[in-house]
Symmetry: C2
Subunit: 298 residues, 2 copies
Amino acid sequence: MSEAKPELSAVGFIGLGNMGGPMALRLLAAGHAVSVCGRDARRLDPVLAAGAVRCADPAEVAAASDMVLTCVTNTDAVEEVLFGTRGLVHGARPGLVVVDMSTVSPDATRRWAEYLNRNHGIAWLDAPVSGGPSGAASGTLAIMVGGSPAVFARARPVLAHLGRPTLVGEAGAGQTTKLVNQILVAGLTALVAEAQGLAARAGLDVAALPQALAGGRADSVLLQLFWPRMAAGDYAPTSTVTSILKDLAMVESMGRAKAAALPLTALVTELNRWLVAQGHAGEDITALYRFYRPASAC
Amino acid sequence: MSEAKPELSAVGFIGLGNMGGPMALRLLAAGHAVSVCGRDARRLDPVLAAGAVRCADPAEVAAASDMVLTCVTNTDAVEEVLFGTRGLVHGARPGLVVVDMSTVSPDATRRWAEYLNRNHGIAWLDAPVSGGPSGAASGTLAIMVGGSPAVFARARPVLAHLGRPTLVGEAGAGQTTKLVNQILVAGLTALVAEAQGLAARAGLDVAALPQALAGGRADSVLLQLFWPRMAAGDYAPTSTVTSILKDLAMVESMGRAKAAALPLTALVTELNRWLVAQGHAGEDITALYRFYRPASAC
C-alpha cells in the first residue's frame, strides 16, 4: 500500500439537513462533483440547483463516489445508511472513504469502522462538527476527526472546505471529543441563560453585556452568540432541544461506563428534559432561557 | 460645571495585591505619578522601585491625587479605605475621582457613591475587572464600569492603560455586571473540569483538545486557559476558591433579592464550598478538577 492514493474528487453527500445542506453547497462551490440522494424536495432542490447529481439511494451514491460524507440524525440513521437494503456497502468499491459527520455513539462508530474496513475495504473517519448551521454555511466548523493519519491526510483537503479539521485519535475519538464538546455547549447554554436571567432582573442593560465581557475570563463563543438570541426571545432552531438531549444521553451513558461524575451535566440534562415536557422539544437550545427570563418578558 | 475638567494625572493606588500590584506598575510605566500606601514590604517594594511615592495612609494618598484607584479584598475593606480613621475622605479634596476596582456589593457601592458625592464632592466609578493577574500584567483586563458618563470620560484614558473599560450603567452597575461575569467564570470552571474528567477517562489526548475545539461553539477563554492548568494539576492561585466564594455569596444574595433562580450556580457554589471543607481554600479555582480527575492522576 505504498503507492500514492488518488485524490478524492468525486464526493457523495448523504443527509441534507440544516447542517448537511449548507455543507454540500460548499463542496459544490469548491468545484467537487457531489452525488446526493433523498426524498425531501425542500432539501434536495437547492443542492440539485447548484449542480449536485441525484442518485436513487446510498448504494448509488457510493458507486459514484471516491468519498462519501454522511450527516444524519442519530446512530440508527447512520446504521441504515451504511447497512440498509440499499445502504452504502451495497454500492461501495474497495478504497471508498466514508466520513461520518453525524453525532453518534462512539462505541457503534468503532464497530462500524472495524467492520467496514475488514469486510468491504472501506476506510473510515468519524468527523462530527461544532459550529451550527451558520458555521456550516461559512465553512468555519470545528471538525473533530477520529481515524488513521493516512486517511485523514487524504480527506483533509475536502474537509477544509467545511471548516477546521483536527485529527484527535483513532476511529471513535472524533465522536468522544464531540461528546466532550456537547458537555460544554449544553452547560454553557444554561450558564448564559442563568447569567442573563440575573442581569435582566437586576436592571442591567442586557444588550450591552456581551461586549462589556468580551475578551475577559467570562467570554465564550456562546456568550456572544446565544446571549442576544435569548434577549430577543429567539428560539428558532439551530440545534434543537431534542438533538442536544440525544447527545446528552450518550454523555450520560459514557459517564456511567467510565465512572465519571457529571453533576452539572446531569442538572443541565434535566432542565432540557423539562423543556421537552413543556412542549419545546423542537425549539433551539436557547429556549432554556424560558426558565430564567423575567415574567414580564414571557 | 461646563468648564473643561483638568486631566487626571496624579493617581493614587490602594491595594497592591496580585491584581493591584501589576496594575499600579502599568500606570507607572505609562508615566503617571502614583502614590501608594501599605505595610507589606513584599507588595510595596516593586512599585516603589518603579517610582511610586509612599504615603502613610489612604488620607495622604487622597491628598496627593486627582484620582484614586482601589483594589482590595471585599466590601468591608473598601469601607475601611474610604471611611476609616485615616480613610480617603479625610484627605480628599472636592473633585477627587475614586475608582473602585475591587469586587464588592453593588448595594454598598450605590450607597458609597451617593454619600461621597453629596458630602465630600467626590466623584465615583465602580470598575471591577476580569482577566486575572495575567490580564492585569498585560493590560488586557475587561473593566466593567458603573458611574456617570462625564466621570467615565475623564477616567477612561487612565483605565485604558489597564485594559478595555466599558461603561455599563450608573454607580453599582459595574459591580452587578461583575457578579454576572462571576456566574460565568465559576460555572465555566466547573464545566471545563467536568468535560476534562470525562475526556481523560475516555482515553482522549487531553492536551490536544482545546485546539480541536478552538473557534467552535464549545470554545471559551477559560477552556483555553484553565484546561491545560487542570491537565497539569496546576492549582497555583490566580483567583482563589475563597475569593470566588465571596463573589458567589453576593450572587446568591442578589438572586434571592431579585427572585432569580440560579440552579447551576447553586451547585457550583456547593462544589467550591466542598473544596474549602477539604482544605483547598487558598488554591486556584482550577482546583475544582480535584473532584473530576481520574484516580491515577491524584
